[in-house]
Symmetry: C2
Subunit: 169 residues, 2 copies
């Protein structure tokens, strides 16, 4: 078996050359709004019942320091080492469990607590990524962007190999 | 915790409006070659040690019949009900387990057995998807495409929400 954690947070990680995510649907007044990143990583994240803020610092440190990015040479580096940008996509479907032909999401955290954790997770990622980029004078090359919690995540992804990993915490 | 299986095969599933995958790198003689699908599902797949052909029929039936596709209305249908196309992407990284800052893939199946299972999986998906499409006279709308086992999976994905699910078998 591959990586298994305590079952409080599930993440799926994909590398990208470019990723673009809708953060606001079009309505009668406004066009749809998007965020985007260039080279970096997309984190799809789902919080389960029982998850609290306590888990976040170690989790963020792990995700940003793990050698999850493959260079064209084959060498593997972390997002901080790359350095690359980060797109965070809330993805409640990751908590799905099959029952018959349907999927159930009974172990997912409630929306209010999930939103709090999601916001804290983003802040910690920003803090750690920008601090690391600052040390090397490369702040202008990296950014953290994120989707709107609870919305449909209209996503476009362009990869040189998604190099998909699962990390449970 | 969400879906956990016997730990023989890991799949990550994403919905797409369009997906394009490189199946042959460019070389001195030839341009890079790609396959693509329109509306449907991308299956990222990783086989673990101990996986055999026995697991495949039930697995294919489950993946194609689970209601993993969300329509714009919010209604959920299976790939067979949609009907949609399928892009199968070999993704050995899904078997990764963190050790320190590195990822290890010790539980992944060997390449030879993995390739056999991958080929059988594709054949079964083609058979089941085309049979279902044939029953409704919609063969021309659906297709099964797949990546080259063991290569870098250069992928472009356009979604109306990836609706990412994890299914272990």
């Amino acid at each position: 078996m591959a990586e298994k954690g305590g079952g409080l947070v599930r993440t799926v990680l994909q590398q990208c050359l470019h990723a673009r995510l809708q953060v606001q649907e079009a309505d009668e007044q406004l066009e749809a709004q998007h965020v985007q990143i260039n080279r970096g990583m997309v984190i799809y994240i789902c919080f389960f019942k029982g998850a609290t803020d306590d888990i976040l610092p170690k989790m963020v440190s792990t995700l940003l320091n793990l050698r999850l990015c493959e260079l064209p040479s084959g060498k593997r580096v972390s997002l901080l080492e790359l350095p690359g940008s980060l797109l965070i996509v809330p993805q409640a479907t990751l908590g799905g469990k099959a029952k018959g032909k349907g999927m159930q999401y009974h172990n997912n955290i409630n929306k209010e607590d999930g939103l709090k954790l999601y916001s804290s997770f983003i802040s910690l990622c920003e803090k750690e990524l920008m601090a690391a980029a600052g040390e090397t004078g490369r702040e202008s090359e990296v950014t953290v962007r994120h989707g709107t919690y609870g919305q449909r995540q209209v996503l476009q992804l362009d990869t040189d190999g998604p190099y998909t990993h699962l990390m449970d915490f």
